[in-house]
Symmetry: C2
Subunit: 353 residues, 2 copies
């Protein structure tokens, strides 16, 4: 790999290179380091341009652009959500992203983000739990054992020391696959036959189901005092996972309220229902958990700054690992005003070849 | 090149392949065919999702995302505008774009769009002039002879039969370069020493200067009856090229009024000053030019649908030319829910290699 000094070249991290990057660094180390970058960016939350995602909805799903900037770097993610894809052998969610230099507008990184989004979502969940769950938490129930479940488990192990997992999915083969994939990774794992069974005695409950509908993965009687709920799956209008009564009993923490009120579990509540911004807890401006009996809820929908952090982290790893390709993405004429001349010189080059 | 059947693969048109594509098809044929696709899409204007661009402004410039969808395809362009870049040997404007399948959200094309944007802007200008300029138009003045000037000239020749060019730039070397680049392409070219000199007797006046400031490239006395003005350069808040009095005498045609009122020449006018939508002329719903003495003005700022058309056209040329690369952009596990398992299988593959 050459150093990226040519103005036309943008470093590109393919799916293959993202996998190699994660394996080279180690999944748990990657999640831990990424969590640190997310925390860094959440501590300087006020420095970012924030805007709700730009969504294009259709009957089948949604395509979204999620831009943000800290004034020095600009990042955006393209992400789709198409629940029916799974039945056709495609991913429900795929994503890629770009990081750019605000000073000249040139992209500095293009990266796959399907895998990276699963990693950043898991790192974000664990960061929130680090600040909100009881410090002694060791046991986590994971309701919904799809594409994100192993990443969630590994992040909570690496960052919080969670080692006991209870897995539940309406499809038992999903729980079996998750348990098999996590075998030998230092967990004690129990697959469960009901969500009630899974949450019994759990310190943390992660809900990460995929259907686009109002569902009640957790009902009120299943959540006891002191539990931290990591609600990942409810992330668009019409898609929620928790019974409203749980929300009314919980201390609710969110990423960016204008977006979460539309997309998160709290779409079930009044628009003025009090919620707390997670960045204030991370920045030390506000307390997290108030008592051992408080039910804390991280109503996670995924915000552009987390993707920005993830792209920033990946970029920081390129030089040492060389795990990228050079992409000829930007026209770079010898004389900047001579774009057409570049075409003429290409013609001359091809004719003389 | 392999057929793009693998779900992980997105066809990618690099700068090199875009140049080869234009040269293989021929620049004028490319512009003519692209103009037809733009007209097709403008005729079904009402089928598109339309939204003003999503801009991130900084002291140095702007980074924008321009999405649109016709319900079947989704496209967006990333584009920056940084006037100071030229002094640092970079392009003022660089761009890339993506076309996706609305049905499953998967990207179907990633393409460089720095060159493509110059081509689509020129094709759009010529389409507007075809519907607005006097049919006998043969002479065009081009004020501002930077990166877009040759493309404008070639589009007006290919689509309208404009053969006489008068070039003016505050930097005479820019006019000389433009004239040299267009030598042997079938034009009669005169480089001029003032904009007054250039516009004298011209049927069409194209203004395409680059400075981000309120400028008066054309003053009122320079524009006679019957002229068509193709105002390309004024395209963001605070950047205009025409004296307000010209606007008040002109029949003004625009792409998407909510965007043009912010970015175009008409930012100088009252918010309710009457303007006509170009798509209505192209669709036959409204007359274009009213008389031989009318001054028509296309207040061009560039709209997402034009980029969508350009991406659609480029994609239609991939199979026959093979001028693309396969980009490993999308994670494609054997079993869609098993994203983490894909990582494990990559690990096993690397260990056994």
């Amino acid at each position: 790999m050459t150093a990226y000094t040519n103005l036309n070249v943008v470093p590109f991290v393919s799916v293959e290179n993202m996998m190699r990057l994660v394996l080279t660094i180690g999944t748990e180390t990657f999640l831990t380091e990424l969590a640190k970058v997310i925390e860094e960016d959440f501590r300087r939350w006020e420095a970012f341009d924030k805007t709700p995602r730009v969504a294009s909805h259709s009957d089948e799903g949604v395509i979204e652009l999620m831009p943000t900037s800290d004034g020095t770097l600009y990042g955006f993610k393209y992400v789709n959500g198409h629940p029916k894809n799974m039945r056709e052998g495609r991913q429900t969610v795929t994503a890629f992203g770009v990081l750019s230099d605000v000073g000249n507008g040139y992209p500095m990184l293009l990266s796959e983000m399907t895998i990276l989004t699963a990693l950043r979502t898991a790192a974000m969940s664990a960061v929130a739990a680090k600040h909100l769950a009881r410090p002694s938490s060791k046991t986590m129930a994971i309701i919904g054992n799809g594409a994100q479940s192993e990443f969630q488990a590994l992040a909570f192990k690496a960052i919080l020391g969670v080692t006991d997992l209870r897995l539940y999915d309406i499809d038992p083969s999903a729980s079996e696959r998750c348990a098999k994939n996590l075998a030998g990774k230092g967990f004690s794992i129990r697959t469960c036959t009901s969500s009630q069974d899974a949450v019994e005695g759990a310190d943390i409950i992660t809900t990460v189901t995929a259907d686009k509908q109002y569902a009640t993965i957790l009902s009120d009687n299943m959540v006891g005092p002191g539990v931290h709920i990591n609600a990942v799956g409810g992330d668009c209008p019409g898609k929620t996972e928790l019974h409203k009564d749980i929300l009314l009993r919980s201390d609710i923490f969110v990423e960016y309220p204008p977006q979460t009120r539309i997309e998160g579990e709290i779409q079930q509540l009044d628009a003025d229902h009090p919620v707390k911004e997670l960045w204030e807890v991370i920045a030390g401006k506000r307390a997290g958990r108030e008592s051992d009996r408080t039910i804390t809820l991280f109503d996670s929908v995924g915000f552009a700054i987390e993707d920005f952090s993830a792209l920033r982290y990946v970029r920081s790893k390129l030089k040492e690992t060389g795990l990228y390709d050079d992409l000829d993405l930007l026209a770079d004429p010898d004389e900047p005003r001579d774009l057409y001349g570049m075409l003429l010189r290409c013609e001359a080059r091809l004719q003389s070849a």
